[in-house]
């Protein structure tokens, strides 16, 4: 392996990539493999597989994979006319939730890797305008993106098998499905009884060794935890080592980017950041790739104001930070007669995609996918705290009996749904609150469209029907309520052909800044059906290919 370079800050590198997560990790690898000099600025630490644990207190309650909310507060409001406030104490995760560290949120994700279908890219044309929204077609098609989905399958590493509703694929999955779990078997049984078409869940977790990485050993700590085996296909495991192996990619951790600065011609020249010692540095670069996630990419552009960009970098359209989409969702829980032991192995093994597309007969826009999993109830403390069905004792002998019986006998069914893009839902700069570095805090403004909530409720009704058909002893719903946050941070630097209505073009280049690219979930035009990461990465592979061509042609 080549040594990791150390680039001087005052000499321009080819690319600075801001963020090393699902998208940034792909950009780092693709651009360095293509021969460019790359500096990756990551605000979190560099953890390796052996740094991850099964420590529920450390990971779940102390949030050790995320930023400290005391240092990085966020505010929330439902509507733009309201004052945003820091969520009350005890409310848990921040409104825009993500992991900090090399690999970003791909380190702690579940690994659901659903492709979009062709319809996702052109729903506006098929369904027409939806009042009060910025519902639009994507500036690309499924067919254009398919080769890059296939690269995600093979280069990131996805386990799976084709399903009856899948879009066309040019290559089979690289490794077979992960073994069926009891939650998947129950979903399959219930769905088949209703005439539905359950299918294998495609997962970014290896069922067999692939690309020099080992197979999953089914320890059960995927969701929220980092993988101790490198079997989960995070960019930390799948991309970053390959980027570093080129000898051209420097990963600088503990570095928080403060602003982008441009020269008199309007080109990004320096990326200004605080290094791990809190000292301000400026990395000179020929081009910048912003892959900081849908909250932080938008915030950084808004923070990068100048005479040329009074409302923030590349924000002449006013669209930076707008059109935030979280993906609506529903959760339904059930107990069964016999042990499921959902604390073993990965979260999801079966899904139902019969309700994926919008059906005008339902009377509202939207669709989604259903999956079966333990959710958070495979963690003993959280199960004990909140896993007992409503109305039953929460302490005492009967409570204890329920813990003894149902820790091994519970599962959940999730509805993973669409969100409509609306300008009123946004990431913006809080006018008062500052973070530990003095930057205006992330302010989240969000209220689901009524159709989003209707979709989630519809999907919950299907979940209930499936669980009943499967013979659940007892089941209950989490009431579908308006979202107050989420880990899917989509839409805030929308891609499009019209510079007045979008932030980047179809190849992720900022309309107004020739050497600035934004590549992450912020580019989404529509939300998809609740599992965005695979599409984020397919877009990243595609973006990198176009950037490579453009750079070689002297067009950046």
């Amino acid at each position: 392996m080549a040594g990791s370079p150390t680039y001087p800050t005052r000499e321009a590198v080819d690319f600075v990539v801001i963020g090393s997560g699902a998208a940034g990790g792909v950009m780092a690898r693709e651009l360095s493999v293509a021969g460019f000099n790359v500096v990756v600025l990551e605000q979190g630490p560099y953890r390796r597989a052996h740094d991850f644990t099964h420590d529920e207190i450390g990971v779940v309650f102390q949030g050790e994979l995320s930023l400290d909310p005391a240092e990085h507060p966020q505010t929330f409001r439902a509507r733009p006319e309201q004052n945003a406030e820091v969520p009350p104490q005890g409310a848990g995760l921040p409104p825009a939730w993500y992991a900090a560290g090399v690999g970003g949120s791909s380190v702690h994700f579940t690994g659901n890797y659903w492709r979009f279908r062709p319809v996702d890219f052109k729903e506006r044309s098929l369904l027409g305008e939806i009042e009060g929204t910025t519902f639009a077609d994507w500036p690309l098609t499924y067919e254009e993106l398919e080769p890059y989905y296939t690269r995600v399958d093979w280069e990131i590493g996805v386990s799976g098998a084709p399903g009856p509703f899948d879009p066309p694929r040019s290559r089979p999955y690289p490794v077979p499905p992960l073994p069926l779990k009891s939650s998947g078997a129950i979903l399959e049984r219930g769905a088949k009884a209703l005439g539905l078409h359950p299918q294998v869940a495609p997962m970014a977790i290896l069922s067999k060794p692939h690309n020099g990485r080992p197979a999953c050993i089914h320890c059960g700590f995927c969701l929220g935890f980092g993988c101790e085996m490198n079997a989960k296909s995070s960019t930390l495991a799948a991309m970053i080592p390959q980027a570093e192996a080129t000898g051209r990619c420097e990963i600088r951790t503990g570095c928080t980017v403060m602003r982008l600065e441009h020269d008199e011609r309007g080109r990004i020249r320096d990326v200004v950041y605080l290094d791990e010692n809190g000292v301000e540095q400026a990395q000179r670069t020929r081009a910048a790739v912003l892959s900081a996630n849908g909250a932080e990419s938008a915030r950084l552009l808004l923070l990068s104001q100048s005479a040329q960009h009074p409302d923030g970098m590349a924000n002449g359209s006013g669209m930076v930070g707008k059109n935030l989409m979280f993906n609506a969702h529903s959760a339904t829980h059930a107990w069964f007669e016999e042990p499921l032991n959902e604390f073993k192995s990965v979260q999801c093994t079966r899904i139902v995609h019969d309700f994926y597309e919008t059906d005008p007969k339902r009377g509202f826009y939207g669709g989604g996918g259903i999956d079966a999993r333990p959710l958070v109830n495979s963690w003993p403390i959280l199960f004990a705290m909140g896993g007992i069905a409503p109305g039953l004792p929460t302490w005492g002998a009967e409570y204890k009996r329920l813990l003894e019986r149902y820790f091994t006998r519970n599962m959940s069914v999730l509805g993973n749904c669409t969100s409509l893009a609306m300008e009123r839902n946004s990431i913006s700069l809080d006018p008062e609150l500052k973070d530990v570095f003095g930057r205006p805090a992330v302010r989240v403004t969000y209220e689901d469209h009524p159709d989003d909530l209707a979709t989630a409720r519809f999907m919950q009704d299907q979940s209930v029907a499936i669980l009943e058909a499967a013979g659940a002893q007892r089941l209950w719903r989490d009431e579908v309520r308006p979202s107050t946050g989420g880990p899917h941070l989509l839409g805030t630097c929308r891609m499009g052909d019209d510079p007045d209505r979008s932030v980047v073009d179809r190849y992720h280049r900022a309309h107004e800044v020739n050497n600035l690219f934004v590549v992450d979930g912020s580019n989404f035009v529509t939300s998809g059906r609740g599992q965005p990461t695979m599409t984020i990465q397919a877009l990243a592979f595609r973006a990198a290919e176009h950037m490579t061509k453009a750079a070689r042609a002297g067009e950046i």
Partner: protein
């Protein structure tokens, strides 16, 4: 990853009076706390942070939340050692709420029963009193600490001999093999009995 939103809900409904952000701010202390906990428990030393009487009261409350039945309860699982180390470690500061609240509870104990301490009451009286305060911060925080003491890694001081995990059927291994549970067992048996599966590299049906 919709699960994360539900995780937040659990933090919200579950921790009650315990602020998640406050909890999160304490994480650098966790390792120290865990080391102290294990050392204290192994050496059978007296409590590091709790007085004897308050330890008996906290343990008595924990033992009503997860009582000893025909299986071990909070007492046998060693929850009090978790509480002792947590208030001197990653939950440092919580005793500023717990101690006055316990004093209030014991004032009620004295007023109603003439006893000095909660732990001196019988189980029925203890349950009646706890029923009155179960929505409040003392009970909710001790409930949270009891469940951590039962089900966290033993290095935090509780979950002695992994008794808490054994209680609920959780086995902390790093490697599992299918079948994982009752409902998938038939599937794996059927696969094992079937002719050798087709190599995965063969052409697949590529969807429609």
């Amino acid at each position: 990853m919709q699960t994360d939103q539900s995780r937040r809900r659990f933090l919200h409904t579950g921790t009650g009076a315990v602020s998640a952000s406050w909890l999160a701010a304490q994480w650098p202390l966790a390792l120290k706390a865990a080391e102290q906990a294990a050392a204290a428990r192994d050496s059978q030393r007296p409590f590091q942070h709790l007085g004897t009487a308050e330890a008996k009261d906290f343990e008595a409350i924990a033992a009503r939340i997860v009582p000893t039945t025909d299986t071990p309860g909070a007492r046998e699982i060693g929850v009090i050692y978790y509480i002792d180390t947590a208030i001197g470690g990653w939950m440092e500061g919580v005793e500023q709420m717990l101690r006055p609240a316990l004093a209030d509870l014991n004032a009620t104990v004295t007023e109603r029963y003439g006893a000095q301490h909660f732990h001196l009451l019988d189980g029925e009286a203890q349950d009646a009193l706890l029923g009155e305060i179960e929505a409040g911060p003392l009970f909710q925080t001790l409930r949270f600490m009891t469940l951590c003491g039962c089900f966290a890694l033993p290095s935090y001081g509780g979950n002695r001999n992994r008794l808490g995990w054994a209680l609920i059927g959780f086995d902390h291994r790093h490697v599992w093999f299918p079948p994982f549970g009752h409902y998938d067992a038939g599937h794996h048996e059927a696969r094992a009995a079937a002719p050798a599966p087709r190599q995965h590299s063969e052409p697949q049906r590529h969807g429609r």
